[in-house]
Each structure stands twice: as structure tokens, then as C-alpha cells.
Amino acid sequence: MKAVALHPVPSLPAPAPAPKRAEPTPAPAAPGRRLGRWLRLHRDQIRAGCVGLLALALFVLAWHLLTTNRVVFYVRFTNIPTPADVLGRGLAALRNPIFADHVLLSCRRIGLGFLLAGGIAVPLGLLMGRFRALREVAFPVCEVLRPIPAIAWVPMAIMLWPTNEASIVFITFLGSFFPILINTLQGMAHVDPVLVRAARCLGAGEGALFREVYLPACLPQIFTGLTVGMGVAWVSLIAAEMISGQYGIGYFTWEAYSLVQYADIALGMIAIGVLGLASSWLIRLLGRLVMPWAAR
């Protein structure tokens, strides 16, 4: 390899020392400028929010036009309530204590079913994840029962349980149980084995491993399961409350059809949707509180 002649690098003159000048500390931005900066930084979210609202407004507008004009084009809008009707019934319902009773009773049933489901599915999922023998016994049975929709369980539920109330809670329980179980199993399957080994090298016994490693490691997945489970519980509600007479928002919605109170059907649907969304959101919030390390 021939050496390439290098030109001698001229020595650079020593740089003149930079004139000493105190850096001005940035003045606290005036509130108006802060707002401007906030808006700029959150441009994307703001735009998404505006687009979302616009889409919802268009949806309501389409609904209004289709129903007030009683449009028929194979799909029939003749009897569908208009947004104004539903809004009217909604405002009346908010003032009506009986409607509140319906809502509260449904919430109680969902709450009970959900808590039972979580109370059984989470420990079961953890144990199934940890002990192969249990998984081999329990998993096939769960997988066979899982696809059966809540509404198909209604006759069985009525026969199995002594009271109507118990049958209803059973249906909501079934709705939440499987998503919670499956997600807990997923969480267990993905626990990092090096964490388990590290814990064992620090003297952790079986119980401590569960409490200190498996459970916290699965928490994010468990909360996903709980959020989904809560949603599915509300979905099963109408099927469940068809069993009972008299009360419950699901019952209210179902009966509105036979009572020719069409606006109440839409009201009931919207109420269930809103309650389902709100309860899922509460679970997510709870998750964020319980898992401070996942706040990234």
C-alpha cells in the first residue's frame, strides 16, 4: 500500500476567547403566549378532536334527515325516531326518578356480575398460567363454553338459578368472565422468564413469586381484560334483562318496542352505550392509578 503524501496541516490560530456575556434567562412567557404554544404543540390532537366532532354532527344530521323525511330505499326509516324525539325523551328521562331506578339497577347487576367474574377469572388465570396440570384440565372446557353468546345462555340461566335476579347476574358474569380469563392467561404466558429467575435467586418462594412477580407482571394485560370484560358485560345486558320483568335499562329498551315507544328504544340503546363507555373508562383510570410504572 503506497503511503499517500499528506500536506502538512497548517496549525490553526488559537480561537479568540468568546466574549463573556451573561445568557439572559428566558422570561416567563405571558399567558397568551403559553396558550399559543400549547395549541401549536397539541395541533394533531386538536384537529383529531374537531374532525371527530364534525363526524358526529354529520351523523346526527344524516339521522335527522333520514328520519324526518321518512326515507325508504329498501331500508325503511318510517318508524325510526328522530334525534329531536330522542332528545326530548332523554331530557324527560333525566327528570324521571323511575328511569334513574332502571339505570341504577342495571349498574348494580353489571357491577355484581363483573366483580364475580374478575374475582374468579383473575386468580384462575394466574393459577392456570402457572400450573400446567390445571391449565390442561380447565382450558378445553373454557374454550368450548367461550363462544356461546350470552343470549343463548338465557334459558339455561333461568333453569339453573333459583331467582331471576341470580339468572341476570349470571349472564353478565359470563359476559365478562371469558375476556378477563383469556387476557390473564395471555399475561401469564408473556411474563419475562428472566424476572422469575432473578426473583428465585433472591430467595423468593412460590407464594412470593406469585405476589411479587407474576401478578404485577400480568397487571397491564389483566386490566386490558377487565376493560374489555366490562364492555362485554353491558353488551350482554339486554339479553340478561329480557329474563326479568319490570326493571333495568335493558328491560326498559326491550319493552319500549312492545309499548310502541320507539324513541325510548333509541334512548335505551344510547344509555347502555354511554354507561358502557363510562365504566370502561373508569376501569382504565383505575388501571393507571394501580400501575404507576406504566405511565410512560
Binding site: 428472566v194 424476572l195 429467575r197 432473578a198 426473583a199 428465585r200 435467586c201 433472591l202 430467595g203 423468593a204 418462594g205 412470593a208 411479587e212 412477580v213 404485577p216 407482571a217 397487571l219 400501575m291 404507576p292 410504572w293 410512560r296
Partner: protein, 286 residues
Amino acid sequence: MVEPSRGRIEVRDFCLRYETLEGSVEAVSDAALTVEPGEFVSIIGPSGCGKSTLLNALAGFLTPTSGSVTVDGMPVSGPSAERGMIFQQYSLFPWKTVRENVEFGLKMKGLPRSERERQARTLLGLAGLSAFENHYPDRLSGGMKQRVGIVRALATGPRILLLDEPFGALDAQTRLIMQQILTNMWQRLKISVLFVTHDIDEAIFLSDRIYVMTARPGSIKAEVAVPLPRPRLPAMTLSSEFLGLRRGLMSLIREESLRAMGGEVSADAMKGLAIDLEGQDLAAVL
């Protein structure tokens, strides 16, 4: 502080084979090594030679097919806090803060909360990590995570410390700094250490003795003493003694690494790979 009479590791006639579809594979065959109480011993060898397997058996995660693994005369039958281990992958519990991680072993021992906190704080102070006490691990750099991992393992006062390529995932500069930190810590504690690495310089810098393993099936090829004075200083890596040790170990390892890469290497094969020996004898190169 560990009394220097504790922490004697003895591995005799160690064999480990496992079953695969193709037949049984011998990972380690007839390995034997000793670590005296308070000694820092490294194992180096090519990838896949079984050095991690040996370490895992010492930790209690694997059982040898034959042979014995004992610590202070007691056979190893499962993982315990007596044999602390630091892994190559980051193993801090993400849901615990740095201090809670360090407290973990003490919690398993049954210490009350105030006592645990006190001890953990002291240890973190000694390691220079007090400022990060309440951080979650995801806020730490790789080097800091491994430092916390070491402190966590030492908190329970184990008889021996096992390290499985703990600095392998770190960048070169951080690795050098971590080696100095480890040797300074060890200098104070004098705990028995078995350290697995593929980095020869790291092994020489840290250890009192080095075992060289053969390619799979692994056994002990050679045992080399490192007579460098203690405490070890970075400048020693340039001394003629250090370089001499390195040259010797490199040739030992090179042979095994080539073997691990796929059988005997002939001069023709080398030509095929376009590695020009410049007229030298293959044996001379190796």
C-alpha cells in the same frame, strides 16, 4: 461483609446432555472447576460452549446429567439467595422503584420494612445511586440498571455471586466503567465470584484465575492464573504482563472459536473464504 471462609465452589465431573429430535446433545462434558472463598474467577470460551449452562447449574436452574456441583460442601438443589446471580438481560422488576428492587431480597428474608429501607438506602449510597432511589427502572441507562442489579444481588449477603456476561449488552465505554465499578466493589467485599464472559480483556482485568472452555461439548481446556496486583487499575491493561496474558489466552480461545464455528479449518477452506495467510503456516497463525 462475608467471612473469607464462605463461598467455596466445587464442580466435579460435570456433564449435561439434553434431548432433541436428532438425538441427545452434550452441552457440557466432564467439566471441573474450583473457586476458593473470596476468589474472583472467570470462565471464558467461544459462543455455545456451555459456560452459561455451567453457571445456570450452579445457580440451581439446571441439574447436571452426572457429576456434582457443591457450594461449601452442600450440593446445589435449586435457586436460593445464597447464590446470587446477575444476568445479561436487564432483570430489574419494572413495577418496583430502584430502592424497592434492592429491598426485594431483604423482603424475602422477612426483614421489617424500616430495616429493609435503611439497608437498601445504605447500599444505594455506597454504590452512588442514591439520587435514583425512587425512579422506576425504565428511567435508567443500561449501565445503571446493571449496577442496581449487582447491588440487589449483594443486598442479601450471598455466599457466592454468579455473573453471566452482565456487561454484554452495554456499549464499549460503559462496559469499561462498569468493570472498574465491579472490581472496586469486589475489592471491598471479597465475595466468591464466578464470572462468565467472552471478553478476554474483561476476564483478565477482573479475575484472580481464568478457566478456558473448549467448544461444545464444553470442558475445561486450561486454567490460567492472573498474577496482576490488586487493586486493579485501568493502567494495568497496558502492562507487558497483561498483554502477555492476553496473547496466550487469545491463541487458546482462537482455536476453540474456529472449532465452534464449524469443524476443522483447512488452508483450502481459508482460501475459499478469501482469508489470505500471506504465506504463513496455518498453525503459526492459530
